[in-house]
Assembly symmetry: C2
DNA sequence: TTTTTTCTAAATCTTTAGATTTAGATATAT
DNA sequence: ATATATCTAAATCTAAAGATTTAGAAAAAA
């Protein structure tokens, strides 16, 4: 399934602060006649300017770099909105790293411990527009992904520091309306209570959430996953 | 790599509205001596009550069902917080479906068109706690995932209906402070302008966003991805 | 050059919002 | 039986928010 277009080789930039390692990769790749390493960067900032200048097809990015970390580098590169595809090279199968890299649009992820033909295989897949993620790393990704989603949904639920837990049922109802931008009068009408009662509730809410006004209360609620809670209760 | 624990078979519930298809799967699985289909559900509601009652190890869930759709069913099952693992069976490789199913915690995803030994393989992997997603579907997932993330980051950027686009620079600065719960006086101090000027800006913001007060303005801003915008500008 | 936009500001006024205190009615728990 | 928590409500007050009009200065666009 190698590309048969010999008119132009797939151009690669290698980003690695270890010069020996980078050279090894360069030689390995240059053995293949459809790929060529056109440049080599020792740190993220050099990498970014080189990528801007040469707009390579693929960037092979090492993740253990000084100064700017790999994730930040990937983020900056993807902000350039180029056609350049990023393949991450790393020593560890840290699920958080895999997750964040893929989130930022990395097209491949390989461990340094993997056999060298894996690297070429990754280049083949990615240059064809596919995503290359070995099964082991794919599993890691999904474990993390599913945990992440679960935590998103339950954000702040069993959190000891979540002041929302101190609210009474009625106060939650009132806060819910506040997060919809309803006024005192509006709340009073919707809950069939007097406006002064609403004020009492709102004041209690402010004290419990340790805020001074409704905007801050709403912001606190949103940050602590109050909206998710409400959804859960409705459903 | 099959499990060697013959003391208890892995218990499976099949959810499929097509009886013939369900029977086929049942027979196929019962050929394997480490698995047994303990029940069969023709729709989602029956499935959920059966799952509550029997707490199976694995649920094989067909996605083309009447009434309650498969995604809703998965959502409800995962809310039960059981150890039950869900494998999705479907005819189409719709990336949105794959994405949502995996997001909700499905442990496997197979196409009906795939060979039957794939199903058994999926059962093996999932019963061992792994995630089973064939390469083709994995690619689909990541394409969708990365697009999704990109859209999340640019939420509302080039949206014609996004009233935030009508704001001037100064108004954006003011709104940014409002989304932090700052008062008129506070905004005036931070921007080195008079309080009345702040009021003018805020009133203009309200008109442009078609809202009546700061809470609604803040909510509008958050929903339309204003916070992401600000982050992008700072960075 | 003239027009338009943006940022600035003040004055005036009405309406909410928020703080604080007090208190009756219910229900729950000790 | 007596605290304790919750929901209700009113009165009173101050501070903040919001609406509306008018207008000068500077910059950018026509």
């Amino acid at each position: 399934m190698r590309r048969l277009d010999f008119q132009r080789k797939t151009r690669i930039i290698v980003v690695d602060d270890n010069y020996d390692h980078a050279s090894g990769i360069r030689e390995l790749i240059n053995l293949e006649n459809e790929y060529e390493v056109i440049a080599n960067a020792g740190n993220a900032n050099v990498a970014i300017s080189l990528i801007k200048k040469y707009q390579p097809d693929i960037v092979l990015m090492d993740m253990n770099m000084p100064d700017v970390d790999g994730i930040t580098a990937i983020s900056k590169i993807s902000e350039l909105n180029l056609e350049t595809k990023i393949i991450v090279l790393t020593a560890y199968d840290d699920p958080d790293l895999i997750f964040r890299a893929m989130k930022l649009g990395a097209k491949g992820y390989i461990l340094k411990t993997m056999a060298s033909h894996q690297l070429i295989h990754a280049l083949d897949e990615v240059s064809q527009g596919k995503i290359y993620l070995p099964n082991v790393l794919c599993s890691r990704f999904f474990e993390y992904f599913q945990n992440f989603e679960k935590n998103q949904q339950n954000a702040g639920y069993e959190d000891e520091n979540n002041l929302l837990n101190d609210l009474t049922n009625r106060e939650e109802e009132v806060l819910s309306l506040l997060t919809q931008g309803v006024t005192y009068k509006g709340v009073a009408q919707k809950l069939f209570i007097s406006e002064t009662t609403v004020k009492t509730h709102v004041n209690n809410i402010f004290q419990k959430l340790q805020v001074n006004d409704r905007t801050q209360a709403v912001l606190y609620a949103i940050n602590k996953g109050f909206l998710n809670r409400q959804k859960a209760k409705i459903a």
